[in-house]
């Protein structure tokens, strides 16, 4: 069981991760039934505090909270007091006054979730739903859940699984959280990116680095494609969209090189035709839709554990 906050994949022990995944599996089984809703968080208030637009993450958390019968308030920065210059501190204190039990925060500034948890601005449980270019721990949990579902249904250890993470590692919170979490479970991680999109000091991370997707793709079990932001091109991280796509995109030729039981993942939203071709995204090897579905289950598990819901079996 986790308690307090969920800020970083680094804070989770292997046992806590496995426990969360088991809870998620249990919750998923229940909500797959005819009555999707559990009463466990009735009376609790979950606030989605989104300073960046992210429809998919927000509705995933919203769905998760509602399936547990929590009240959900969506607070998005656009058109709110925040766009009129209100500080994070004042926003947090406002939510505190309104009795939020959990705050799911998405913020453009790395460390914003940690600040919210460390300061006295608010007492609620803080869940990091993506902070700048730092972390996105629930994404890593749902990715681990999906990998386990497809490759390790019966075991708890990921050793022997080789995961390629391809693309903009430098700016990716998804990559950071996944590296921390999947390596903790025993997976071998290879990062594939142009040198411009790899952070300084990466040689100290528990990963191997490669610049060559073609040489790596034959041997991997999981290939995780990261979204490439087009504004990176203007900043000269790579010359053109097409060159990036040729060298680091997943296309049908590369897809054909994958082992039979390998899976293709993407955190979404995809740039079809850039980092991933349409046929790769829609291929049988692609588990991208499963990732979205599993996101709800994993976020239910996180909310359930942090807010101390009633035992699952108790629900009537």
């Amino acid at each position: 069981m986790i308690t307090g906050h969920l800020l970083s994949a680094a804070d989770l022990s292997k046992d806590e991760v496995l426990n969360l995944l088991a809870t998620a599996k249990e919750l998923a089984a229940i909500t797959d039934g005819p009555n999707k809703k559990l009463p466990t968080l009735r009376g609790k208030t979950v606030v989605n505090l989104f300073f960046e637009d992210s429809t998919r993450t927000r509705i995933s958390f919203e769905t998760a909270a509602k399936r547990l019968s929590a009240d959900v308030i969506n607070f998005s920065a656009k058109g709110s007091s925040v766009s009129k210059g209100e500080s994070l501190k004042d926003t947090a204190q406002t939510l505190q006054a309104m009795g939020a039990d959990a705050v799911v925060i998405r913020h453009g500034s790395s460390g914003a979730a940690k600040r919210l948890a460390d300061t006295q601005w608010i007492q609620a449980a803080v869940i990091n739903a993506g902070d700048g270019t730092h972390e996105h721990p629930t994404q890593a949990l749902l990715d681990a859940f999906t990998i386990k579902q497809h490759l390790r249904a019966k075991e708890s250890d990921f050793s022997g699984i080789k995961v390629l993470i391809v693309g903009d590692i430098l700016h990716s919170r998804v990559a950071r959280s996944n590296i921390l979490l999947l390596s903790k479970l025993g997976a071998e991680i290879v990062l594939v990116a142009p040198p411009t999109l790899l952070p300084v000091g990466i040689e100290k991370w528990p990963v191997r680095i490669s610049y060559d997707l073609d040489s790596e793709i034959r041997e991997c079990d999981v290939v995780m494609m990261l979204r490439i932001q087009l504004e990176r091109m203007a900043d000269s991280f790579f010359p053109t969209e097409r060159e990036y796509s040729r060298r680091y995109g997943l296309n049908s030729a590369r897809l054909a090189k994958l082992k039979n039981n390998s899976i293709v993942m993407h955190p979404g939203p995809m740039n079809r035709g850039l980092e991933i071709s349409a046929d790769s995204a829609d291929d049988l090897k692609s588990v991208i839709v499963d990732q979205v579905k599993n996101g709800v289950a994993v976020r239910m598990a996180v909310l359930y554990q942090l807010l101390g819901g009633a035992p699952i079996g108790d629900s009537k």
Partner: protein, 434 residues
């Protein structure tokens, strides 16, 4: 007439000192007794008043963060008898009018010399030289020019500035930060920034400007001063330049002698400063550089900010730390306790050399008859705990809150007048209430 008995000097001699008006009138070997009506300095060290070449006072424009008066309180409390106000005020100190205003406010405060630093370029925009001559000729007699907070990044403007100030023996103090390599930079680029996902400020952004400016200074035979050096590579470059006989001086800020980028881990903006906290290796290189004299001086980069600019998320926070009141203690802790500097060398780095570089004639003088009486007395074996709520500065943004530091200042004498008595800054309470 002020008398001080039994004071130990930096060289170890124990003396009695007499001060008449603004001058030291007599220094004699201590008789061992404390004469009536004199300050008993037994067990304490008497040093020349400290001189800071890098102070942000925020007046005019941001008086909510600091004024010339409150900055002077902080300076006095920290043992400084001269400070140098940086030009990045609102309006910018880029005209004779603004520097004279700051100079006069300093005189009115009367607790230390307040010497304005003039902007190199108009509005700190890096494009057109400010009226350097007018500022030099004003009553503020400006000799140091800096766009601090911003780098004079255009090599041609930097060249012209270095050339132009030769007329009045001026010096350009460069904030060495290549802007294109530090777009949106938040902290030292390294393993910590990569892990916690903050945009990095690489060491080479400092080193490349230092290298360029050293070569420019050599080419035009002018004086260059490097502000707040933070990198091991920067120390190397200055060492090389000095060996080559180039007229370059450099400063280090106390926080860069003690703190590292590991502290940023929790995203507490109290550690957000520009240039950023670096690695352990850099800290050690800076200490060695200061010990060796490659780095000439300690300068505080005292940068006050109001509460709301630090009580927020990292990226929304302002860069900067207050430093006047903790500077001496941090230098004692990092340099004296480690035996890298002795007391005479500390006086050189914190008083004599800065006064020489800036041409502050009444400052950094040796303690002997005839010198202007700018003096501090401290108990070097005593410790104090830094309490942000007790700072004399108007701002509270110290990274040293809660730390126990060595060196307690008991007396400060500025131009022959006591400004700090038994650790209390003169007139401060009445002024604060009034």
């Amino acid at each position: 007439m002020i008398k001080i008995s039994n004071a130990k000097l930096a060289d170890g001699n124990v003396v009695d000192v007499e001060i008449d008006n603004d001058l030291i009138s007599k220094v004699t070997k201590s008789s061992g007794t404390v004469s009536k009506g004199s300050i008993d300095a037994t067990g304490q060290i008497l040093l020349p008043g400290l001189v800071d070449l890098h102070t942000h006072l925020r007046e005019p424009g941001r008086e909510d963060a600091e004024t010339v008066l409150t900055g002077s309180y902080a300076a006095a409390a920290g043992g400084y008898t001269a400070i140098s106000s940086m030009a990045n005020t609102y309006p910018v100190a880029d005209t004779a009018g603004v520097v004279e205003q700051i100079y006069r406010l300093g005189k009115d405060a009367g607790l230390c010399d307040v010497n304005p630093i003039g902007a190199v370029t108009k509005g700190l925009n890096g494009e057109q030289l400010a009226e350097l001559g007018a500022m030099a000729d004003s009553i503020a007699r400006v000799r140091i020019f800096s766009d601090d907070g911003k780098c004079v990044s255009d090599p041609l403007i930097m060249r012209r500035a270095l050339e132009y100030v030769k007329t009045f023996n001026g010096i350009i103090a460069q904030h060495a930060q290549e802007p294109r390599l530090t777009i949106n930079a938040q902290m030292n680029e390294g393993s910590v920034s990569s892990r916690i996902g903050l945009p990095g400020w690489p060491a080479i952004a400092e080193e490349s400007i230092i290298a360029r400016d050293i070569l420019l200074a050599e080419h035009v035979q002018s004086r260059l001063h490097i502000c707040h050096l933070t990198t091991a590579g920067g120390v190397e470059l200055v060492r090389w330049a000095k060996k080559r006989g180039i007229n370059v001086t450099a400063e280090v800020s106390p926080h860069h002698l003690l703190l590292t980028d590991e502290l940023v881990e929790n995203y507490d903006p109290i550690y957000k400063v520009n240039p950023p906290l670096r690695t352990e290796k850099d800290v050690m290189a800076l200490r060695e550089g200061l010990a060796e004299g490659v780095i000439d001086i300690v300068a505080t980069d005292h940068a006050p900010h109001p509460e709301e600019d630090k009580d927020c998320e990292w990226q929304a926070a302002a860069f900067g730390m207050v430093g006047l009141e903790t500077s001496l203690s941090v230098v004692i802790k990092t340099m004296i306790e480690s035996k890298m500097l002795d007391w005479s060398q500390l006086v050189d780095r914190m008083s004599i050399r800065p006064a020489q570089i800036a041409g502050y004639k009444t400052q950094g003088q040796s303690i002997q008859a005839g010198s202007v009486a700018n003096l501090i007395l401290l108990d070097s074996s005593a410790f104090w705990q830094v309490d942000r709520s007790k700072l004399k500065s108007k701002s509270r943004n110290t990274p040293f809150h809660g730390m126990t530091l060595p060196g307690v200042i008991s007396q400060v004498i500025y131009n022959g007048k006591q400004t700090v008595i038994a650790g209390r800054v003169l007139n401060m309470e009445s002024d604060k209430n009034g």
